[in-house]
Amino acid sequence: MQIDLLQGTLDMLILKALTGGAMHGYAVASWLQRTTDDALRVEEGSLYPALHRMTRRGWVKSEWGVSENNRRAKFYTLTAEGRRQLKEEFSAWERLTEAVAKVLHAQPAAQGA
């Protein structure tokens, strides 16, 4: 099954993907697809705007290069700023999932008691 991404989560995933080194957009999309076994639905149409936005914010920087199969492609690299951003988003995400998990596993109290 496929899960729609939470708002803002895409950025974090892309940043994570780029921790492995410079990647072009297609590679980022493929990596996300592969890693989640197609569970997360990343609309490719929103991947590139996200990359643009992050470039603008200075989290990643882009550079034209040559792909594995000798085509011109734009490669994205994580900046120091981007690394910091990923760290922050990651810890926020962990806190959120923990909190949600706690709620979902808890026994609801009886009304009125």
């Binding site: 957009g25 609309e43 149409g45 792909s67 085509r71």
Partner: protein
């Protein structure tokens, strides 16, 4: 201009949207191709693969829009920071470069600031006085109505008669409304005595004409503007603030105005005054349509044109209505009178009436300071040239080494704009100061002075001038860098191909000298006018005389005896003060608003068109002529004893006696007011020529009646209420009498206010003709001196530069046997050559300028040879002076040293 194109392209590529879109498309194409390849590998046909890749990608449109928006934002931000960085970088560089030649920067800034400041200040005056609309709603519709009889001296403009006013107000179709008013002085009772106030008595329709609104309460309405309505008043805004601290509780209270209880019903909106006068108190005129005096002209009248009515149409209608006067008012306007005198009522745009012919003076002055600015600019341009000369090698080398022309131009431009910006700030400060000074100096004859100030109009004009100057100065020294580079290539030291540059510089100096000639000639002509004007014998002796004005409350001084008693007491008490040698009281003093006339018949004289000449009538108390130093050529003036007997003597001026009774003895001749009533007044004295209307005007024709005339047929002046008093003293500081005057007046009658205390000398200086000449001379003098100074600096700079350039040549000449004096003479000759050329050109301009300003001149020819010769002399001396330093330097050139360095 290629450097500009470079800049432009650099900026464009920074923002190029097409470029970004290409990148986005390429990135997308790569992605789709990779995805398609993947599907082909899974066994799809290429077409299917492509379609699947596209489908999987999602909304192509949303994608484009989003990336596009992000890129736009990014580009905008980048552009902002880049431009800001560039400005900062260039500014820093320019500052550093300017700091290396501080004297250049300071001189350039000061010169420009002076020029800009003067121009901005004068422009602001022109703007406030001439250009800015009057402070009323739809002011272009407002007109001034004035009955006039051409050629009837001395005051051909009469104002309207009550009957005439009512006729126009009721019948004129082209005018939406017509209002009439009179302005008078009144006595306003306050807790610490009486205050003299300016009272405007107006018809209710004046409120409509001016579209007046109250700040408080109500205004004058038709109900309050009837003869039997109760006395009400509307306070002027400024007076309300001054007198009541803007307290709204003043509404409905009763005050004593001219010692009569008057109810305050409102406060006029802020800033609303009558066109020519400030108003402290507005009161209804309360004309009585039943009495309608037809032959007394004296009302001021204003009207508002109906929408769509032109001035011409309104004039045509009023002319037609005036032509019917003989039929409407047969007792006052005979057919022959109308035919022979050309009586008519004129409709003038209100702005023209208010500004009068002052605009001509102002435009001339503005033109003069603009010329000064031009000279200043030429000087600064020269400074830039000299400076660029010093840096030419540097520029040429940098240029040859590949520095973009654009960069060089950009630096130069930043530098000059920076200088101009500083000059702009200083100039505005100067202009502001000058305007403040002008307003405090209060040159009389300059209308709308209260509106003068440094407004945004002036600031914008200065800014435009400034940017223009900056661009020109920055760029034109660079115009020749290309040639310099070529010269540099040809020879190592070269750079001598500067003939054109010298030509430009020489031309500029010639132009400067020319402009200086024009300005100095203008100032010189004005100076001669001023002197001539001051040499005119006014017919009185203004030295050591103190003057002041009083107003007798109407209710307390109703008849001949009461008025006479007050004046007699006042005069005798003032005469008793130590040091006082004469006291005179009169309804008017010469050179102080001596207008106002009444039609008078002279015995044995048949007036033109049956119209008695309108002559200034002045009420005088005994002592008037002695106090003012007006000589009596024949006879004597009335004494208090004569007045006790109600004697009927009058004094006339020589000019009047000569016109009325040429070749005859004026003494004993009869003079009568309008109407057919019995008594003639009899001439008992003839006063000398008196320039009462202005030093530039012919001697006045005037009749001096008793201050409170006994006869009943002089309707214009019952007992005089507003009186001016002149006190002649033995001291040269007559104003020291003021406290005594104040004390005596308050002892005599505390309800009589004292106002306008000033020396007669000051009154003469403030009389319009003198004040205008002084004001014009003052400004032209400043403009002329600035022109002279700036031309001297310019001339010096160029000569010094040429000497510097020709050192080699001079060294060789001296080595070949030329003497030092010869070389120095050469330099002086060069300076004289420039000056002569400039003088020749300038004389042409000066003659033209003289024509333009001939209306401002007084008994001086516009091409006065003395002035022109003096100006030429001054400039020749200037040329010598400017050449002195460089010539000495040239004479000291050591040929050996020069030859060595060759």
């Amino acid at each position: 201009m290629s450097w500009m194109i470079d800049r432009y392209q650099a900026l464009r590529s920074l923002l190029r949207r097409g470029h970004l879109e290409d990148e986005v498309a390429e990135e997308l194409e790569f992605h789709l191709a990779m995805r398609a390849e993947e599907y082909v590998a899974q066994g799809m046909t290429p077409e299917e693969a492509r379609a699947e890749a596209l489908r999987r990608f999602g909304s192509m449109d949303a994608y484009r829009k989003q990336t596009h928006q992000i890129d736009e934002d990014m580009a905008r931000e980048r552009r902002r920071t880049e431009i800001w960085d560039m400005v900062r970088r260039e500014t820093r560089q320019a500052l550093r470069s300017l700091a290396r030649s501080p004297s250049f920067a300071v001189v350039a800034v000061l010169t420009l600031a002076l020029g800009l400041g003067a121009t901005t200040a004068l422009y602001s005056v022109v703007d406030a006085v001439v250009l800015r609309p009057l402070p009323y709603d739809a002011p272009e519709q407002l007109v001034w109505l004035d009955s006039a009889v051409p050629g009837v001296a001395p005051d051909a403009r009469w104002g309207l008669s009550e009957a005439g006013y009512l006729h126009f107000a009721r019948e004129a179709r082209g005018l939406a409304s017509v209002g009439a008013f009179e302005v008078d002085n009144g006595s306003f009772a306050t807790s610490d005595g009486a205050l003299r106030v300016d009272v405007a008595t107006v018809t209710a329709s004046v409120m409509d004409v001016l579209r007046a609104r109250p700040a408080l309460g109500s205004l004058i309405t038709p109900e309050t503007d009837t003869p039997d309505a109760r006395r009400v008043a509307v306070l002027g805004y400024d007076f309300w603030v001054r007198q009541y601290g803007a307290d709204s509780r003043v509404l409905g209270t009763s005050v004593r105005l001219d010692d009569e209880p008057t109810e305050i019903i409102g406060v006029m909106a802020r800033g609303l005054e009558l066109p020519d006068d400030t108003v402290d108190v507005w009161m209804p005129l309360r004309l009585d349509p039943a009495s309608r005096p037809v032959n007394v002209h004296g009302l001021s009248a204003i009207g508002r044109l109906k929408d769509g009515t032109s001035l011409g149409q309104a004039q045509a209608e009023i002319t037609a209505m005036s032509a019917r006067f003989p039929e409407l008012f047969p007792s006052a306007y005979g057919e022959s009178f109308m035919r022979e005198t050309g009586f008519n009522t004129w409709v003038t745009p209100l702005a023209k009436h208010v500004v009068g012919d002052v605009d001509r003076v102002l435009w001339i002055l503005l033109g003069s300071v603009a010329l000064v600015l031009l000279i200043a600019c030429a000087n600064v341009a020269n400074l830039f040239l000299v400076r660029s000369e010093a840096r030419r090698r540097e520029l040429a080398v940098r240029s040859a080494l590949g520095a973009a022309r654009g960069d060089l131009a950009w630096h130069a431009l930043t530098e000059s704009l920076l200088l101009c910006l500083v000059a702009y700030g200083l100039g505005l400060l100067l202009a502001h100061g000058a305007l403040r000074l002008l307003v405090t100096l209060e040159p009389s004859g300059l209308p709308r002075l209260e509106e003068v100030g440094l407004g945004w109009h002036g600031a914008v004009v200065a800014a435009v001038l400034c940017v223009m100057a900056g661009v020109v100065f920055g760029l034109f020294p660079l115009a020749r860098t290309g040639a310099d580079v070529a010269a540099l290539r040809e020879s190592g030291r070269g750079l001598s191909a500067s003939r054109r540059r010298n030509l430009m510089r020489g031309g500029m100096v010639v132009g400067q000298v020319g402009l200086a000639v024009v300005l100095l000639a203008a100032a010189g002509l004005m100076l001669r006018s001023y002197w001539t004007l001051h040499a005119v014998d006014p017919g009185l002796k203004p030295e050591n005389v103190l003057t002041f004005d009083i107003v007798l409350p109407r209710t307390r001084y109703t008849n001949y005896d009461e008025v006479n008693r007050f004046h007699r007491e006042l005069v005798s008490r003032l005469e008793a003060l130590p040091g006082v040698t004469g006291v005179g009281a009169g309804s008017r003093l010469p050179l102080r608003d001596f207008g106002g006339c009444a039609g008078l018949s002279a015995e044995g004289v048949t007036p033109k068109g049956g119209l008695p000449p309108c002559l200034p009538v002045v009420g005088t108390a005994p002592g008037y002529f002695r106090a003012l130093g007006i000589p009596l050529l024949q006879g004597r003036e009335l004494t208090w004893e004569d007045l006790d007997r109600k004697a009927d003597g009058v004094v006339v001026t020589k000019a009047l006696a000569e016109r009325m009774w040429p070749g005859e003895d004026a003494l004993g001749k009869g003079i009568r007011g309008q109407g057919n009533g019995p008594p003639y007044y009899h001439v008992i004295g003839v006063a000398g020529d008196l320039r009462a209307h202005g030093l530039d005007k012919p001697p006045a024709e005037a009749v001096f009646f008793p201050l409170a005339p006994a006869a009943k047929d002089l309707p214009l002046w019952g007992p005089r209420r507003a009186v001016s008093v002149a006190v002649r003293t033995a001291t040269t500081r007559p104003e020291s009498l003021t406290p005594d005057v104040r004390r005596i007046l308050s002892e005599l009658d505390a309800t009589v206010p004292l106002a306008n205390v000033q020396t007669m000398e000051r009154a003469v200086a403030k009389s319009p003709s003198v004040a205008r000449a002084t004001f014009t001379l003052f400004l032209l003098g400043i403009a002329g001196s600035m022109a002279l100074l700036l031309s001297a600096v310019g001339l010096y700079g160029v000569i010094a530069f040429i000497v510097g350039q020709r050192r080699g040549e001079m060294g060789i000449r001296m080595a070949l046997g030329a003497r030092a004096a010869q070389v120095a003479g050469m330099v002086v000759l060069q300076s004289l050559r420039f000056t002569t050329l400039g003088i020749v050109l300038g004389l042409v301009g000066a003659l033209a300028m003289g024509q333009v300003m001939s209306a401002l001149l007084f008994e001086v020819s516009a091409s006065d040879p003395l002035v022109l010769a003096a100006v030429c002399g001054v400039l020749v001396m200037l040329a010598m002076l400017a050449a002195y330093g460089p010539a000495r330097r040239a004479a000291r050139v050591d040929p050996a040293e020069v030859l060595r360095s060759e």
